[in-house]
Symmetry: none
Subunit: 421 residues, 2 copies
């Protein structure tokens, strides 16, 4: 069995100055080759801390990836801690890396300082992963482990994300050479519009019926709904896809349109695909979501193929002037109403000459709302050039969360309409 | 001495499916009250793992914050591990939380499942932090520690960021009550539009002139610019504000309009304030940013006081039909041009009858662009009802980054125009 630990070194992460994105990138890469990340640890630039933690991790996991703590300044003592940990006595200067360090200095018109030069010298016990993106090389150590796997493969990488990303494939290559890699198979099913507890109840028997070697995980996400991940490890993972496909089929019989996609697809990705297939265009009229839905679609490369654009009619004037929402509707039913949503969808459809359009009007909070229309109330409208359809619901989050929820629900409503359409 | 550990539980982070943003938020909050985070750990939903790690952390640190692993489904076993760790024998149902769980079910028109009901029951050894944002409550335990501080304060919080953020202040309150906290004073200065190295050079002498007990930290952020944080720890922190204020004054003499605010203010917060003071309104015309700027403003509670709304004119048709951009402009100069930006700003101003308006038109990529207008090119327009002003620049990120950068630059341009106006 291969199991890994990821250790980030440095204060920036511990004081919350930066969010650690390296660990997730590394974990995904290891996962793909069937090396399971069992733990992630962040520790400070402290010699004893580094040695204690890496010793503990090497005794428990046969792969350890370390990032950070390799800068030229004196608060970076990772390298010497690694030297001690690996039982190395001395440093050697790595010619390839030194040339790169020289080149960096040259380009910046700086003379080569000893501090810079030191970056190219490494414990003689390590294999160097030459780093052309920065001055600090990656290092590959084999560390004695008290565990029955005898030795742990430890990689030290720079903390700068694009330097780490450059070296990561080299790490994967070394692992492929050094390890007897166990197979792994993942299938992720994206669901929406069904609360975790209801989902769990709905698929209870299906879940109990899963063979022991197929692992199920619930991965909830407020915006994308709940992801169900099926995983198979080891020999069983070879040729398990037929079995998995059947399980997924019977799952989709249970969940129907609650399943909107697979792997890391999003609701807007699916709508984008549906519209491209149909060769149709979309326009959007937003009130309380204030452009959130438009921005979710425009984040997709090639969005212009399907998106004409839209209107953020935050004020009632704009609802009237731009979207031709009638005075009487606003007076009689208010801006948060089925009628207003319908007229907004129709209005943006007309000015944009799109094939389909959606609209959202609601109360995001924290203020506003009434007993009959509390904060979190929303109406979503859809118009296909002929007929209107609407739905409403109530979200129970704060302002930001309500806006996100309204947006996701609107996109999902659009998706369902397009499927039926 | 108070030292803390943050532990996140759950596979989503370990397999790299989500990036852990909670830990950095928690660390910043603890930092503000002078509790130093010494380590962060991510572990899987495994009973033994949870107990071993939390035991180890409680023996070493007197504050331990745990997030995640509290969902209703069967892969969450954190709560019972905490029960065992705290030496509790039994569960009690927490009335306040149960009422919230009931309310959630009611609002969603669902019957209350046992799975939901279980969320409200907690080990009898804990103090409940009622969670109105979700169904799982926060829990506060006092765990025996082999360390000389005797017991460790352990808080368990939901992993959903906005639920965690809601409970975090309650955690801070408990820590303030339970711990003898060292004094601490922070002042954060928000800057925009000045690269870190240039900034560092500009304030070099000012920085050298700081008394030893005032610590300075650079906190860069792609969207909000570079934050400068001044910190004073210990007895000196009492009554140091006059001294700090003077230092900040001399700093603002050096940086002028590069300083846009203090503490955790954002560019849009400052624009919101400026417009409210003036009692003026805003409208926005977006092309490549696709609603991002509108959504940043509508995320602010009370946005309707200053925002009329806007148009996302993604297609040239909409630029013409809605914003009255002239054919000749599009033909002669193209959509990404000073002229188009000016007409878009004017156009949205007219239809929305706002006092001020801004427009953004550019190429976010990955496709499109030319030698003379590469991907990342953008024009930003401003109109005050009388005169237009525009600026352009080139961003060098990927699509998402470019959209964020365009948006931040546009809002900052608006801010500078409002200051001069």
């Amino acid at each position: 069995m291969n199991s890994a630990a990821i250790c980030t070194i440095g204060d920036e992460i511990l004081i919350g100055q930066i969010v650690d994105t390296n660990s997730s990138a590394i974990s995904q890469a290891l996962n793909r080759i069937g090396v399971k990340v069992e733990t992630m640890v962040s520790i400070k630039d402290d010699r004893a801390e580094i040695i204690d933690n890496l010793r503990r991790l090497c005794d428990k996991y046969n792969v350890v990836i370390v990032t950070g703590g390799l800068g030229p300044t004196r608060d970076d003592i990772t390298k010497d801690a690694l030297r001690e940990l690996s039982g190395s006595k001395s440093y050697i200067e790595n010619e390839a890396q030194l040339e790169i360090v020289r080149e960096f200095a040259r380009r910046r018109g700086m003379e080569l300082l000893d501090l810079n030069r030191l970056q190219a010298s490494v414990p003689d016990s390590c294999t160097v992963l030459t780093n052309i993106k920065g001055t600090a090389p990656g290092m590959f150590f084999k560390i004695k482990s008290s565990n029955d796997f005898g030795e742990s493969l430890l990689f030290s990488l720079p903390g700068v994300p694009y330097e780490m990303e450059y070296l990561l494939p080299k790490v994967i290559n070394h692992l492929n050479e050094s390890l007897k890699l166990e197979g792994i198979f993942h299938k992720t099913i994206m669901t929406f519009g069904i609360p975790e507890s209801v989902l769990a109840k709905k698929i209870e028997h299906w879940e109990l019926d899963l063979p022991e070697y197929i692992k199920l995980a619930y991965l909830p996400n407020p915006l994308t709904g709940i992801r169900l991940r099926l995983s198979v490890y080891g020999d069983k993972s070879v040729g398990c896809n037929k079995e998995i496909d059947e399980r997924v089929r019977s799952l989709s019989d249970l969940l129907g349109e609650h399943i909107y996609g697979y792997e890391e697809s999003t609701l807007q990705d699916e709508v984008f695909k549906l519209l491209k297939e149909k060769g149709k265009t979309l326009s959007i009229a937003e009130s309380c979501t204030g452009g959130k839905i438009l921005s979710l679609f425009t984040a997709i490369p090639g969005a212009s193929d399907i998106l004409k654009g839209g209107v953020v009619a935050y004020s009632n004037e704009l609802k009237k002037d731009l979207l031709s929402v009638s005075d009487s509707t606003l007076v009689k039913y208010g801006a948060v109403s089925r009628e207003c949503a319908a007229e907004m969808a129709k209005g943006v459809h007309e000015i944009s000459k799109s094939d389909f359009s959606i609209s959202v009007t609601g109360i995001a909070g924290p203020d506003g709302g009434s007993d009959e229309k509390p904060v979190g109330s929303v109406w979503i409208g859809f118009y296909d050039g002929v007929t209107n359809s609407e739905r409403n619901f109530i979200s129970t989050g704060d302002r930001i969360r309500n806006i996100e929820r309204f947006s996701a629900e609107a996109i999902n409503f659009l998706r369902l309409q397009l499927i039926d359409n």
